[in-house]
């Protein structure tokens, strides 16, 4: 698999735990506490096929961040990881190919399914195999 898995979450322990788990799965992971930091880092031109996005962020909400990232990097796939009980996927995000299966509710008892989803999105061929 090539490229980084991008994690944007303002909760440090969530960030760290996801990063740790995915790294243990052999994935390259970068994690930022805000969308702004992530965008800044992406300007360096790194390859980043998958992003795990929190919804409540200090600078903007997750939906807006996804729209912005999608604008800049149309190839990027998104997984949503939210603590909000009332979150529902906006319609425009669905047109970007997102669906309810991409939404993960906090707290995650088991990070295994999320990791599998990341793998599948990052490398479709590999996932299919």
């Amino acid at each position: 698999m090539t490229g980084w898995v991008l994690i944007v979450d303002d909760e440090e322990m969530i960030r760290e735990n996801l990063k740790a788990y995915l790294e243990d799965e052999g994935l390259g992971v970068v994690a930022f506490e805000s969308a702004t930091h992530a965008l800044f880092w992406l300007q360096a031109g790194v390859s980043c096929p998958v992003c795990i996005m929190d919804m409540r962020l200090p600078d903007m909400d997750g939906n807006t961040a996804i729209r912005a990232l999608h604008e800049l990097y149309p190839e990027m796939k998104f997984l949503i990881h939210t603590g909000s009980s009332s979150y529902s996927l906006p319609e425009d995000l669905r047109t970007m190919g997102l669906d309810d299966s991409r939404v993960y509710r906090k707290p995650l008892e088991d990070m295994g399914p999320l990791a599998a989803a990341v793998r599948a999105l990052a490398d479709p061929q590999e996932a299919r195999l």
């Binding site: 909760e11 740790a20 409540r56 603590g83 009980s85």
Partner: protein, 752 residues
């Protein structure tokens, strides 16, 4: 002697004159005869006997012849005279006898007349040619009480001034009659003496004119009779009849008498009016009988005849009568047989009262009573009417059911005896009647079939026709109390939901950290991961040894504990969140196959991780009783699945905890009028009333700490009642299992 005045006396002088004449002649003849006889006897020397005619002719023939001749002549004359005298005497005698006879007859006649006059109720009167009273017999005064002296010399009209002024016509005619000297009969008038206005007498007089031999008018003579009493009686009778007639005509009821042929003998005005006729026309017997509708006439005739045959009065309580306008009314008739004096035939006197209105009113009252009874019976409240002493007067149907007695059986019994649960209300009954205000006793607790029930009791004072009493109204509000407590619970749930929604994000993040951290820790201390081994080598730690150590110290178990606690906390938060209201748009409502849904849940239950851990679901016998009439139900499939799963888990857990032998769960469906019913029935330990009442309360649990969140059933309750507008109820008794009934509205419109 009054008769002498009455009878003519002028014949008497004529009679005595004739008698006097014949006596004179007889005396003269006798005288002459006597003288002759004495002369002759002197001469012949022998007395002349009676009838001595054969004397001595020879001697004194010559002398004697003339004498004899003379004597003979004289004798002949005498004889003649004598014959004449005898004849005259005889005639006289005859006349005398005749006269005596006449006189006797006259006397007899007079006596008879006198007797008659004295005995008669009439009196004799006479008036002179100037029409003034000259004579009035004694009876007059005796009969009228009017002194004869005050009348004599007056004319009749002078005696009747008032009457004359009242009816001058009558008097004018009468005077005309008198002036033409014609006889008259039965002239009636009222006499009234001056100064006597009270005792006017009614007199009836008849009279004939009197004429003397020369045919001259001498006045009037006649009889009179006092008819005052009769007139008064007649007038009174007339008045009384008139009054009676007026009375029966005034009576608004029909009064009539009919003979056996149905002909009217008597009818009052009301009767005539009912027949559209007049009284006169109705009682006119020349008219054919039978007025009105033939069947009615027939019936009436039959009734009349029955009365006549049995000679018994009869009351006909209701009789249909169609009057002349066609109005059908109901009469109540009493029929009395009677024989009127002077009437050969018996008749039936009827008095008929029109009771149409009363009947209608009575029917209205009966109808209204039935209507009211239906109303009070239709009321769900128990209604007990009591008198001031607490004795039952009225019960409605629910009261009959509640007391287990019929109204008839309960009437007159003390209400506390029939309704022991209400006995405590006696004081309220008395107070309500005394003060005239209703008294409420809300939420009175009472026991019905060993169950605690709540009742609102109200005692209304009653005042009707000065008869006081009260109505005790009892409403079983147990269901409402339960619903209210459910609503309180729902409110609690909603506030829990609101709270959860607000804090979910804040709690989920730390929970995520705990759970994810636990997972990472456990993963990173095991020897399985290559990264772990590399790191361990780098620091010179043997992972296998480390694991043994961690196990030895129970650290792995502690870590697992942290993870489980996190899972439980996450579950609580998730359950709490389901209390928040969601719109229908958010919920996934659709028509769902009930059987599919239940079977899905059974599969889920069998594979539920928690279930497997706590007990073996496969040990529980599952029975199914699906109503073929119920196929589809409109609901949010996932939510209802969650509810049913919850109920199944609940039942399984309860049975496992109590080690119920041969545990079984019955899944039953039924179709009610408005609801689809889904039931989960277990044969587990059941529940006490105390538990039942709180079973849907959030955070209420009977399970061991850590087994349940205490939210499962309240979440189910919330889903059913709030999101589906349905009902979730439970019935259970200790040791007798439990039955959870889930009702979902069949009509989609009913969903709010």
């Amino acid at each position: 002697m009054p008769i002498s005045r009455v009878l003519p006396s002028r014949k008497r002088p004529a009679l005595s004159r004739r008698r006097f004449g014949s006596n004179e002649l007889l005396a003269a003849a006798l005288g002459a005869l006597a003288a002759t006889a004495s002369a002759a006897s002197d001469w012949l020397g022998e007395p002349l006997g009676s009838g001595g005619a054969g004397g001595k002719i020879n001697y004194t023939v010559l002398v004697l012849i003339p004498v004899i001749l003379l004597a003979s002549v004289a004798l002949f004359w005498c004889w003649l005279q004598r014959q004449e005298a005898v004849r005259r005497t005889r005639q006289l005698q005859r006349e005398l006898n005749e006269r005596q006879r006449v006189e006797t007859a006259l006397r007899e006649s007079e006596a008879r007349f006198r007797d008659v006059t004295e005995a008669a109720s009439d009196w004799i009167w006479e008036m002179d040619e100037n029409l003034r009273f000259t004579y009035l017999s004694e009876r007059f005064e005796a009969l009228t009480g009017i002194g004869t002296q005050s009348v004599l010399g007056l004319t009749r009209w002078e005696l009747a001034g008032a009457d004359a002024s009242i009816d001058p016509q009558k008097w004018r005619k009468h005077r005309e009659v008198l002036e033409t000297r014609a006889p008259f009969r039965d002239f009636i008038y009222q006499t009234q003496l001056i100064g006597d206005w009270q005792n006017g007498r009614y007199l009836k007089v008849s009279g004939k004119p009197i004429h003397d031999e020369q045919g001259r008018f001498r006045g009037y003579r006649g009889t009179g009779t006092d008819i005052t009493e009769q007139a008064k009686a007649e007038a009174a009778l007339y008045q009384s009849e008139l009054r009676l007639r007026r009375i029966i005509d005034l009576v608004p009821h029909m009064i009539f008498a009919r003979d056996r042929h149905g002909r009217f003998l008597l009818a009052n005005r009301a009767t005539a009016a009912a027949y559209g006729s007049t009284v006169e026309a109705l009682v006119d017997r020349s008219h054919p009988p039978g007025h009105g509708v033939p069947e009615e006439v027939e019936q009436r005739l039959a009734d009349d005849r029955a009365v006549l045959e049995n000679w018994e009065s009869r009351l006909i309580p209701e009789e249909v009568f169609t009057d002349h306008t066609g109005r059908v009314c109901t009469l109540q008739t009493i029929k009395i047989p009677f024989n009127e004096s002077g009437m050969s035939e018996s008749a039936v006197l009827s008095v008929a009262i029109d009771i149409t209105e009363q009947k209608r009113a009575k029917e209205d009252v009966a109808r209204m009573r039935l209507y009211l009874k239906n109303i009070i019976d239709s009321m769900p409240s128990v209604l007990v009417g009591v008198d001031p002493w607490g004795y039952i007067t009225v019960l409605n149907q629910p009261a009959e059911q509640a007391g287990g007695v019929s109204w008839a059986a309960a009437q007159g019994r003390f209400f506390g005896e029939v309704f022991p649960q209400l006995q405590s209300q006696f004081e309220q009954v008395r107070q309500a009647i005394r003060d005239g205000h209703p008294i409420k006793t809300p939420r009175m607790t009472l026991e019905v079939d060993g169950e605690l029930h709540y009742a609102d009791v109200m005692v209304y004072p009653l005042m009707a026709d000065n008869v006081s009493g009260a109505v005790i109204r009892m409403d079983d509000v147990t269901a409402r109390v339960r619903i209210e407590s459910m609503m309180v619970q729902t409110e609690k749930m909603l506030s829990v939901g609101g709270l959860a929604a607000g804090m979910a994000h804040e709690i989920n993040n730390p929970l995520g950290a705990i759970l994810q951290g636990s997972q990472n820790i456990l993963r990173r201390i095991g020897p399985e991961l290559a990264q772990n081994r590399a790191a361990a080598d780098a620091v010179g730690v043997d992972l296998n040894q480390l694991n043994r150590y961690l196990q030895e110290r129970g650290i792995l178990r502690l870590l697992e504990g942290i993870r489980e606690a996190g899972v439980r906390a996450a579950k609580i938060v998730a359950d709490m969140l389901s209390f928040s209201r969601r719109s229908e748009a958010q919920a996934q409502f659709a028509l769902v196959e009930v059987e599919d849904l239940l079977e899905t849940v059974l599969r889920l239950a069998a594979s539920d991780y928690d279930l497997k851990k706590k007990y073996d679901f496969k040990r529980i016998r599952i029975e199914r009783a699906y109503d073929p009439a119920l196929r589809l139900v409109y609901c949010d499939k996932t939510e209802i699945e969650q509810v049913i799963l919850n109920l199944l888990k609940n039942a399984a857990q309860a049975m496992a905890e109590e080690n119920t032998p041969s545990p079984s769960i019955l899944l039953r469906t039924a179709r009610e009028a408005d609801y689809a019913v889904l039931e989960v029935v277990d044969n587990g330990p059941g529940m006490e009333d105390k538990t039942l009442k709180r079973i849907f309360e959030p955070f209420f649990t009977t399970k061991d700490v850590g087994v349940g969140t205490g939210l499962g059933l309240s979440v189910s309750y919330f889903i059913v009642t709030e999101q589906h507008n349905g009902r979730l109820s439970v019935t259970s008794k200790p040791g007798q299992g439990a039955c959870f009934s889930l009702r979902l509205p069949l009509a989609r419109e009913k969903l709010s």
